[in-house]
Symmetry: C2
Subunit: 293 residues, 2 copies
Amino acid sequence: MLGAIEAGGTKFVCAVSENGRDIKERVSIPTTTPAETMQQVYDFFRSFSIEAVGIGSFGPIDINTKNDTYGYITTTPKTAWQNFNILGDVQKHLGVPAGFTTDVNAAALGEWKHGAGAGKTSCLYMTVGTGIGVGAVINNHILEGLNHPEAGHIIVRRHPEDDFKGTCPYHSDCLEGLASGPAVEKRWGEKGSELTARPEVWELESYYLAQAMMNYILILTPERIIIGGGVSKQPSLLAKVHEKTQQLLQGYVQDSMITQHIDQYITTPGLYDDAGITGGFVLAARTLEDTPN
Amino acid sequence: MLGAIEAGGTKFVCAVSENGRDIKERVSIPTTTPAETMQQVYDFFRSFSIEAVGIGSFGPIDINTKNDTYGYITTTPKTAWQNFNILGDVQKHLGVPAGFTTDVNAAALGEWKHGAGAGKTSCLYMTVGTGIGVGAVINNHILEGLNHPEAGHIIVRRHPEDDFKGTCPYHSDCLEGLASGPAVEKRWGEKGSELTARPEVWELESYYLAQAMMNYILILTPERIIIGGGVSKQPSLLAKVHEKTQQLLQGYVQDSMITQHIDQYITTPGLYDDAGITGGFVLAARTLEDTPN
Ligand SMILES: Nc1ncnc2c1ncn2[C@@H]1O[C@H](COP(=O)(O)OP(=O)(O)O)[C@@H](O)[C@H]1O
Ligand SMILES: Nc1ncnc2c1ncn2[C@@H]1O[C@H](COP(=O)(O)OP(=O)(O)O)[C@@H](O)[C@H]1O
Ligand SMILES: [Zn+2]
Ligand SMILES: [Zn+2]
């Protein structure tokens, strides 16, 4: 049996699976303090005999095994969780091999193995919600290097008529600062879900997201791009992103997936809200394989 | 013995190596027509008994093995080379296993194995010259997905006082359109090498290159970034890129390589002009390993 932990800023989802894909049982635990939340996590897993666990965590986290703070949640605004060694804590309490990555890398891994990226060697997963997060699988492996991607914070060109100053505490008007759910709400004075009837909102939103698509395609060249998160539920948004991405690329990337089938190339998640948990199982299975016995 | 071909738009460099690193003999051949140039390539290799060859080619090229045009130089402005099956031609004439990638991916591979990226699991190589090209090694493998990176064409934010319209035939004012060697020359009316005494030129150039650094770091998160090409020879440029990249990131990526050692993190090539050829040898060796005998 394999375990998965989706460690989110509002809730932790824990689940177990026999076959590494289907969820046998799951629980949702509010994110309060590490002591309180983790206790409930361990209580859940106690009923099962899991062989390994995969953790996809909110961040920023340190996934560079060379660092002293490897396995930590680092500079999060959630003060109770700052510098919490989540990986070490899980290993100590569950006593099984544990894989560790970001929430969006876990979602990318899940979608790549069993969702909209199945059969590809690479895929990029983007969530446009409270923040903008990006994870990726490249050459069948999670994308990690110096650290994990933070591609929600890239620079995009501002729309000449958009004078909203942006919401990112670090960069003000990076992509996340201009196009996350809270940015939409603050700019237009209403929650995104209430703005469906205002096409100018989604014109502008797709203006920014299409630039992100262009840069992700040119830099990472993934075989599939998957967009999830609350804002992506806006019905007219994806088609506008398709159209604007093609316009920006100007036929430069001569692949029929982009020139003709962009609606299949940039797509919604195949696993919906289960992407992260499924990715956790995949990570758990890989960690088990890589553990010398 | 291993062979390497660096197929450039002005010249082809061919070389052989006993140990996959040191160049035993090399030749430089002008890029005219495929028939003429390739004949001289084959004449050079005839004197050696090579077991495999690695090709780093100018592009755009098709490196997606699923495509019918895999191994081709595709939509290049050099009309004689359009839709030339360079990989197939080499395989036919040399009769040995051949690896195929872009010129900049080959340079990235060479720098990663034996140059400024040695000992890392990932590195990004950027050339700022006649064009802006980017190659990368991720998880010890060349970055390939839908196709190869074209990260010279990303969108950057224009400087508010820069009204130069840009030189890219596809996107006008993408990064390459604003910051390649020809863009510098056209904007300021003189070749880059003549503009050393004008700090405003390099202020603006680093304004654009630092944005590229930011986006590459946030999207690809490489362990090392190497900048080569003619424009990078400008003495004051790299330090300005370091400074501006740190300013843009605003401490968001909390790794000492960026916050304290950015001069080591974004660096000049270790192999200088031999990066591509060295990468060709590495590619040849890998291709040989992967070939069932
Ligand atoms: N239908 C919708 N259209 C536009 N925005 C929405 C919609 N539904 C939710 N959102 C926005 O998405 C954000 C929440 O994203 P979500 O992915 O659900 O959560 P989180 O990112 O915290 O995991 C909020 O800012 C919310 O206003
Ligand atoms: N010292 C220099 N400072 C600035 N620009 C330079 C310098 N030397 C060469 N360049 C510019 O670099 C470009 C050529 O780049 P290079 O990398 O040598 O060739 P290519 O990209 O064709 O392989 C030209 O536009 C040239 O003006
Ligand atoms: Zn930001
Ligand atoms: Zn361009």
